[in-house]
């Protein structure tokens, strides 16, 4: 049996973060990366850009191809892990091989949630017209069917659905987004901001059918809850994702809204760590446990996991939701929780809403000009006491000037 000091299951942001975290501490020991995909690491959010034609395939690398070699990583493509045995620190691969680990990072990510709809084909992967949209394989599939006269129906007005809509709207005859919710991006935005985004997308020829669901999928046609039907050549199912926790669950690790870890990203199973979309995190802005399936979070968790795996204590305790997304030239920054007193501003260039509770910035939404929005993010991240900050100035526009002199000095005259 082969044994590795470090094994990472997965090959995306959490896994790469894991490699970089390990390498901060241990530059020598080999790392084995196991991925079920056939590709070197690539940026999942870029699949819509690729589909849109804005990014070439070779620019989708999340890291340079030399990354593995430079970091002494061995990688096994197209390989699934069947089972983890935490007692003897081994795992069984799909081909039956057993390999041992000293430290294991599970960065299995999430998988699309496919709702049980009447008429849904049994083997979605072989469909030429019905797709989920989270992997490069999905995008490649979509692209094959995407023609100028294709009619596209997207189920789900979340981030994935709308990015898919953006990617295709100028390459096909029509895009219609169907969602049971009464607004777009329901998990990211609240009413007004959602409305701005919807209106913008409508001007860009994306059609919406909200408060509507698909009741049945037929060949080239879906039936809707309002009794109407929509023809399609391409149907995207983008109602959401769920954490891929199976391996840990079967190994009897704790699962909540994802794999449960401590601040060191260690699971309830000894020497097994988890990072990324597959995990549950404590959202510091709402103080609730969540599955925060966002890329920066995945990388940061992976990095902390990696450092701990290599023996250095590191802590990740600053998780909270945050998103930056653009649709057809309209950009949205959002972070935290929309709880507390809301301060709303609107200019021709920008809509902004800031939420403050207990003298702490809890969340914000910016649509349009989002320059320097990260200053707000940092206030959430650090849970900064706003009492020494010029709130009026801060609400008007994010700036260092809003801080008092000593924190300005700390920010600008000291190394970070």
């Amino acid at each position: 049996m082969k044994k590795f000091k470090y094994i990472i299951i997965g090959n995306s942001a959490g896994a790469i973060g894991g490699v970089q975290g390990i390498r901060k501490v241990d530059q020598a020991s080999e790392i084995l990366i196991i991925t079920s995909e056939p590709w070197e690491t690539y940026s999942r959010p870029l699949i819509s850009y690729w589909l849109q034609g804005k990014v070439k395939r070779e620019k989708m690398h999340y890291r340079d191809p030399s990354f593995y070699k430079e970091n002494n990583c061995r990688i096994r493509y197209n390989t699934s892990v069947e089972k983890i045995n935490p007692q003897d620190q081994t795992m069984a691969l799909a081909d039956g091989e057993i390999i041992g680990y000293e430290k294991l990072l599970v960065a299995t990510g999430s998988i699309p949630f496919v709702p049980p709809i009447k008429g849904l084909p049994k083997n979605l992967k072989e469909s030429k017209s019905i797709f989920t949209f989270t992997t490069l394989a999905d995008a490649i599939g979509v692209k094959k069917g995407l023609t100028n006269d294709a009619r596209v129906v997207i189920l789900g007005a979340g981030l994935i659905g709308l990015k898919a809509a953006e990617a295709m709207v100028n390459q096909c005859q029509s895009v219609t987004v169907v969602d049971l919710a009464d607004r777009v991006l329901p998990s990211v935005l609240e009413d007004k901001s959602s409305d701005i985004v919807k209106k913008h997308l409508e001007t860009q020829a994306v059609d919406f059918m909200l408060e509507t669901s698909i009741t049945e999928i037929r060949d080239k046609e879906v039936l809707l809850s309002n009794g109407k039907s929509l023809p399609y050549e391409i149907l995207i199912l983008a109602v959401g994702t769920k954490p891929q926790c199976t391996l840990i669950q079967e190994a009897r690790g704790d699962i909540g809204r994802g794999i449960v870890t401590d601040h060191h990203q260690e699971t309830t199973l000894k020497n097994i760590y988890a990072a990324g979309d597959c995990t549950q995190s404590l959202d510091i802005s709402s103080e609730t446990q969540k599955n925060l399936a966002i890329l920066p979070n995945a990388f940061l968790q992976g990095e902390v996991a990696g450092m701990n795996m290599a023996g250095e204590e590191a802590v990740y305790d600053q998780a909270f939701p945050l998103n930056s997304v653009g649709f057809m030239g309209l950009y949205i920054l959002s972070a935290g929780t929309y709880d507390g007193v809301a301060y709303e501003t609107q200019t021709p260039e920008q809509y902004k809403k800031i939420f403050i509770k207990d003298n702490v910035l809890k969340g914000y939404i910016i649509i349009g000009d989002c320059m320097r929005g990260g200053i707000y993010t940092d206030l959430i991240r650090e849970q900064t006491d706003l009492s020494t900050i010029d709130l009026k100035m801060l609400i008007t526009s994010p700036q260092i000037m809003a801080f008092n002199q000593s924190s300005r000095k700390e920010k600008l005259a000291q190394s970070h």
Binding site: L300, G326, R372, G374, R408
Partner: protein
């Protein structure tokens, strides 16, 4: 490592660092050409904030030890080079603004071609001292190693 630090005690708010930064990164040899000869004025990677009571200071990338922008970058366009300088590869940047979302200091800006711009300490265009530092009329911006703490 040597980083750009600012001292608001000496910043006059002349905004010349912005001009010099934009020029240095414009690729033009002549400032007049850089500003007056093209459709779009070149953009600065440094921003001067002007406050009340004549407080001014310039803000540019801190090249943080923990660069949230790099960690959050969805494409890998942002990297830390061997000298600790946070750099951006504009052939890989897709303009998603996650870095703007992540940066605690508000130091990234969107360029004319929609990719992000940030201070790279003038490594590409001058070497040695960053242009904002070199041209600051009052030493309000300095290029120093303060990793051991502020003197």
């Amino acid at each position: 490592m040597k980083r750009v630090y600012v001292n608001e005690e000496w910043c006059l708010g002349c905004h010349l660092c912005e001009i010099q930064c934009a020029f240095a990164n414009s690729g033009e040899a002549d400032m007049v050409k850089a500003f007056n000869n093209s459709e779009q004025k070149p953009l600065a990677r440094i921003t001067v904030e002007d406050g009340e009571n004549d407080i001014h200071f310039a803000v540019s990338c801190r090249h943080c030890e923990t660069p949230y922008c790099v960690k959050g970058c969805i494409t890998g366009a942002l990297t830390v080079n061997e000298n600790g300088i946070v750099q951006i590869d504009d052939t890989r940047c897709v303009g998603c603004r996650t870095c703007i979302l992540m940066c605690p200091y508000g130091c990234l800006t969107v360029g004319h071609n929609k990719t992000l711009l940030k201070c790279e300490l003038c490594v590409e265009n001058l070497g040695g001292e960053p242009s904002c530092v070199r041209r600051c009329p009052n030493n309000a911006i300095v290029f120093e190693d303060r990793d051991g703490g502020l003197l």
